[in-house]
């Protein structure tokens, strides 16, 4: 659906994007994550046709009239009603206005449908923006931080709306909220300093990118056990916070599975519990971007 090749964008002396080879499969929900200033908005702007790349190419396999874009803080003329805003969006994309009330209901804005949007809260504007995005039945949806301004309930509704697009549209959305990405995305791309540091399925990121770690609880004294483990060549680091829990970073899961129990026994450790640390998207993200 979307393929970029060696995409680059410079603002003066600053490289906003460097050699980005993005690949978004048709029908997927792709989460684009990255720290502030990583180039997410620039990349979405180029894909939306709002910015021009300095070099590289963009290939989008979608009807231009069925590509919908939602900026991070959508704004509309304050004197229009919600119905009129969505009606305009539909008229400009699909040519009719028969889905206006339905999408406003889906966005939870039925009660405010005939109120001027100047009186809408930030969360309501975000949901109105999403209603404008989906009213034209797009095949490709580009969302820039769609849930960033919302309270937990609003975030839930937006994520549900995005989830409902699965199967009908390809969705590419940027987010700082890794839990949102983990919940709704099947593919993730990590943008760091303008370069794509990782691209693949969420499972690949969690399994393949994060360095495996074990959490071990032992009876005191703990420092002798920590020192003994730290001397082993397959142990990368031992974190010991003064309690009875050690966090042991190992070079591979296989090493830990075959050697860790023996090493603890050799160190005379009285083991209460041990097991691999569950890898969060946040930790995988930090590993990739550090």
């Amino acid at each position: 659906m979307i393929r970029t090749t060696d995409l680059a964008k410079r603002y003066g002396a600053t490289d906003a994007l460097r050699g980005v080879d993005l690949s978004v499969a048709a029908g997927s929900i792709y989460g684009l994550v990255g720290p502030n200033g990583a180039g997410k908005t620039t990349l979405l702007g180029i894909l939306a046709g709002l910015r021009h790349p300095t070099s590289g190419s963009v290939q989008i396999d979608a009807d231009p009239h069925r590509i919908a874009v939602l900026p991070d803080t959508p704004r509309f003329d304050a004197w229009l009603t919600g119905r009129e805003v969505v009606g305009l969006a539909q008229r400009l994309t699909a040519g009719t206005e028969d889905r206006v009330e339905q999408v406003l209901a889906d966005a939870g804005l039925t009660d405010a449908i005939d109120r001027p949007v100047g009186g809408y809260s930030r969360g309501m504007l975000q949901r109105l923006g999403l209603a404008c995005t989906i009213v034209g039945e797009p095949t490709l949806v580009l969302l820039d931080e769609p849930a960033s301004a919302l309270d937990p309930l609003g975030r839930r509704e937006v994520l549900d709306l995005i989830g409902r697009l699965k199967g009908t549209a390809t969705v590419l959305f940027s987010s700082h909220i890794l839990a949102d990405v983990q919940e709704v995305c099947d593919t993730v791309g990590i943008l760091d300093k303008g370069a794509l540091a990782f691209q693949g399925t969420v499972e690949d990121l969690l399994v393949g990118q994060a360095v495996p770690r074990y959490r071990i609880r032992v009876r005191p004294p703990t420092d002798d056990v920590a020192r003994a483990l730290d001397r082993l060549d397959w142990v990368r680091a031992v974190e010991f916070d003064g309690t009875d829990e050690l966090t042991v970073t190992v070079s591979s899961l296989a090493d830990a599975e075959t050697k860790l129990a023996g090493a603890l026994a050799a160190a005379g450790a009285r083991v209460v519990s041990m097991g691999p640390e569950a890898v969060s998207l946040e930790r995988a993200f930090l590993e990739v971007t550090k």
Binding site: G45, A48, G49, L50, R51, H52, P64, H65, I67, A68, V69, P71, T73, P74, R75, F76, D77, W79, L80, E84, G87, L88, A89, R91, L92, T93, E97, G129, C132, G136
Partner: protein, 252 residues
């Protein structure tokens, strides 16, 4: 809801049409009134100027239009610039620009309704004000040649189309409505400075703004405005072309 209806609604709901019609019709009614009763107004305000006496010639019909033009060209044009900038600087709030730009394949689809509706509103208000001034001049001072008034109105309208073209070109580059207004006003203020030279001034678009005063007064004829008309037509077409090019290449 279409982009055309959006622009009519912008004029109606933001009450901008009241500002436009109000300022032109107000000066249209006020101009002939002050021309007719200038002597009485000065007397009422205290005509004794430390022994000096002001002698006013009897008012003539052309004075009514001259009073209207002197106000309408300045304050009316200022209001027209503000109203035009509000409609034409559609990227001033980038999120609004994104909403529109990502839903059309050509920026002309956005720009044309905004230009056309603004032109109709500004020109309609100016003509209404001019007709009010003409009527009141006839009622208070005396009649004017219809052909002279119509010619003056046409030249005035052409100048206002040039003003809107200027605002459109500036708006396509400026980053805010205020910036668009300020830059446009600076350009419009610079023109009369060049116009101090009579040889150069008769070629400038700003020269057309005075036609409604000078043609009915007989101090200039229709043909005296042809050089400025030619320059204005060419410049205005160029400004709209530049506005389209700038708007199409602009990044958000």
């Amino acid at each position: 809801m279409t982009l055309w209806r959006l622009e009519w609604m912008r004029l109606a709901r933001t009450k901008r049409w009241i500002a436009l019609v109000g300022v032109y019709v107000f000066f249209g009614l006020l101009g002939p009134l002050t021309a007719r009763y200038l002597r009485e107004i000065v007397d009422f305000a205290g005509g004794d100027l430390e022994g000096a006496t002001i002698q006013f010639p009897p008012p003539v019909p052309a004075d009514g239009m001259a009073q209207f033009v002197s106000n309408a060209v300045q304050i009316g044009t200022l209001v027209a610039v503000v109203v035009a900038a509000g409609a034409l600087a559609f990227d001033a709030i980038p999120e609004m620009g994104v909403f529109l730009r990502t839903r059309v394949s050509d920026v002309r689809t956005i720009l044309v309704p905004r230009v056309v509706v603004t032109v109709i509103a500004v020109l309609g208000s100016f003509v209404l004000g001019g007709l009010a001034a003409w009527y009141e001049t006839w009622a208070l001072i005396g009649g004017l040649e219809a052909g002279d008034v119509v010619a003056g109105l046409l030249f005035g309208c052409l100048f206002l189309v040039f003003v809107i073209g200027l605002v459109a070109a500036v708006a396509a580059r400026a980053s805010s409505v205020l910036g668009t207004v300020m830059i446009s006003i600076v350009v419009l203020l610079i023109m009369p400075i060049f116009g101090i030279s009579e040889a150069l001034g008769r070629w400038l678009p700003s020269h057309l703004g005075g036609a409604l005063a000078t043609i009915p007064a007989g101090t200039e004829s229709f043909s005296d405005y042809l050089p400025a008309t030619a320059v204005t037509v060419v410049t205005t077409v160029g400004l709209f072309f530049v506005a389209l090019r700038f708007a199409a290449s602009r990044e958000l």
